[in-house]
Amino acid sequence: MKSGQEQFPSAARLKSILPLWPLLPAAFYLITFLFVVLSYLLYLSFSTASGAFPTLATAGNVFAMNEFRQAFVSTLLFVIVGTPLELVAGLALAMLIYKPFFLRSIVRTLFIIPLAVPGLVTATLLFIIFDSNGGFMNHILMGKYWFFPHVIRHAVDWRGAQWSALSVAMIGKIWRDVPISMLILLGGINAIDPELFDAAKTMGAGLRQRFRYVILPLIIPAISSVLLLRSIEMWKEFIFPYILAGRYHLLGTLIEFLYMEWGGKYEHEAAFVALVLVGCIVVSVAVFMFLVDIVRRMVSDVR
């Protein structure tokens, strides 16, 4: 039997833990949903409509689907092309407003406006602008306005072909989300010690050199964050391809298509594709971390 003195620390520990109870309802809520999501996702993915469990039949069905292979490749390209574009656009915006100028705060607020526009609204607007029949973009490119040269002869059915439809979806995604990249990079640039700029300038470094040798190396953590966070968002993308790319699926829209079409006949396949999507994100994050680690080691070796 333990003595009273030995029991005292656990009583004190209990007393210190007791005030933490307000954390429990939220923790319970999140853990319950996490458990539901993971367990159902795994169960549905490895079972069939006839009740067989565990089975790889659903996985086999999915891997045999042409739609899945196409969606996987399209999503991969969406991530590989879209993420760097968003980084470059965000960096350009950050560099533009890093400098102090008259009405800077208003311009900064202006640049953040896309974030406030709901994704569905942006997608709807692009649906209107890129309409093949009387859409604004076709009229511009056909040289119907004084301010733009004649680029195409006939109206393009933007949503009617895979790559143009997905490109329009990517434009929408980048337009809406680029302020997030801008803000992260702006934070990185603002964190640079101003003395470094002075030193570089004193040593005769021009604008381009200061960008290349001072700013760029020092905002690598911010760049890594943008690449990581935005690539995850690109993998997850649903609304833009759903509205703009119709039958040209990414993994996200394929999940919706399999689940909603044909009266839930492909519910298990939809769940498996959802699981694959999670797997893709986990693997890409792991690969990214590995690459970042290599880059960091290379940088420290050079130093």
């Binding site: 949903f33 350009a92 202006l110 974030l115 029949n133 990185g188 959802a274 999507l277 994100i281």
Partner: protein
């Protein structure tokens, strides 16, 4: 030399390039918003131009589509539905999130870092991947196509934001106040309700507005959890249902304006918190 002019273009040519960059970017950002408004007040002649260029400003600007929308009972019904769902989400996520934020901000919590990573990872999980398990689970609980089902799902999305924004609101309050109250004999409830909560209200209000907006324009969960032909439809589903092969562009734009106006207005009211929430932990 001031900090801010250390990377500024100094020569006139560079200044010109920079000014063009600012103007061009502002144009690219604002042009879609302008077009949205323009389409929403366009008359049919400005939309069906018969091969002529779509006018940059409507020939006969009109609020006819808005009048049509505002006299359509279905429109008001979906607005009310979206409102109820958003208000319900705000209440539930605040009820769960604010106490959690208080504890995480003010107490020494074991495994705090792991808990915070766990909370934020909920948002990194794709909505489209979690929506099927949740739909199947809710169908089994008879929560499919109900207000409560969507509110519960939206709360799951909003809770991490409420906790993180709430934490920063509580962390900003000096600890001396709490210690003085404890010295004077106040208990945990009194300290929370009478002292900390009133001071943290501006930050918590921002979290509430952010949650409201998140629910107001949410599409994926509403799409999966509400019966397409059922009585409960949200404004986002209403807009989606109007996107057909050849939809009336002015109607789509008008619904879009109604959907985004509150979001744009309130987003700027809580801009500071939104930015800190979205970029939290992203810059080392």
């Amino acid at each position: 030399m001031g900090k801010l002019d250390r990377f500024t273009p100094t020569s006139p040519l560079k200044r010109l390039v920079w000014t063009i960059g600012i103007v061009a970017t502002a144009f690219m950002v604002m042009a879609p918003v302008y077009l949205l408004v323009k389409y929403s007040i366009s008359d049919m002649e400005s939309i069906n131009t018969g091969g002529l260029p779509v006018p940059l400003w409507p020939y006969h600007p009109t609020f006819a589509v808005f009048s049509y929308l505002f006299t359509d009972p279905e429109f008001w019904q979906v607005v009310l539905n979206s409102l109820w769902i958003a208000i319900g989400t705000v209440l539930l996520s605040s009820l769960l999130g604010v106490p959690a934020a208080y504890v995480l901000a003010r107490y020494k919590v074991p495994f705090r870092r792991a808990i915070l990573i766990g909370i934020i990872s909920v948002r990194l999980f794709p909505d489209i991947s979690s929506v099927i398990p949740i739909s199947v689970f809710f169908i089994s609980l008879n929560l499919y196509s109900s207000f409560s089902g969507v509110i519960l799902a939206h709360t799951l999305l909003a809770l991490p934001y409420v906790i993180f924004i709430g934490m920063s609101a509580f962390e900003g309050i000096p600890r001396d106040i709490e210690e003085q109250a404890m010295t004077m004999g106040a208990n945990q409830f009194q300290i929370f309700f009478r002292i900390l909560l009133p001071i943290a209200i501006p930050g918590l209000a921002a979290a509430a507005i952010y949650t409201f907006l998140l629910s107001w324009d949410e599409f994926i969960f509403a799409h999966f959890l509400l019966d397409p032909g059922g009585k409960i439809q949200t404004l986002t589903l209403y807009l989606r249902s109007r996107i057909t092969f050849q939809p009336p562009q002015n109607l789509l734009a008008a619904i879009s304006v109604c959907l985004s106006l509150p979001v744009i207005i309130f987003s700027f009211a809580v801009q500071k918190y939104m930015i800190s929430g979205m970029t939290a932990g992203s810059v080392k």
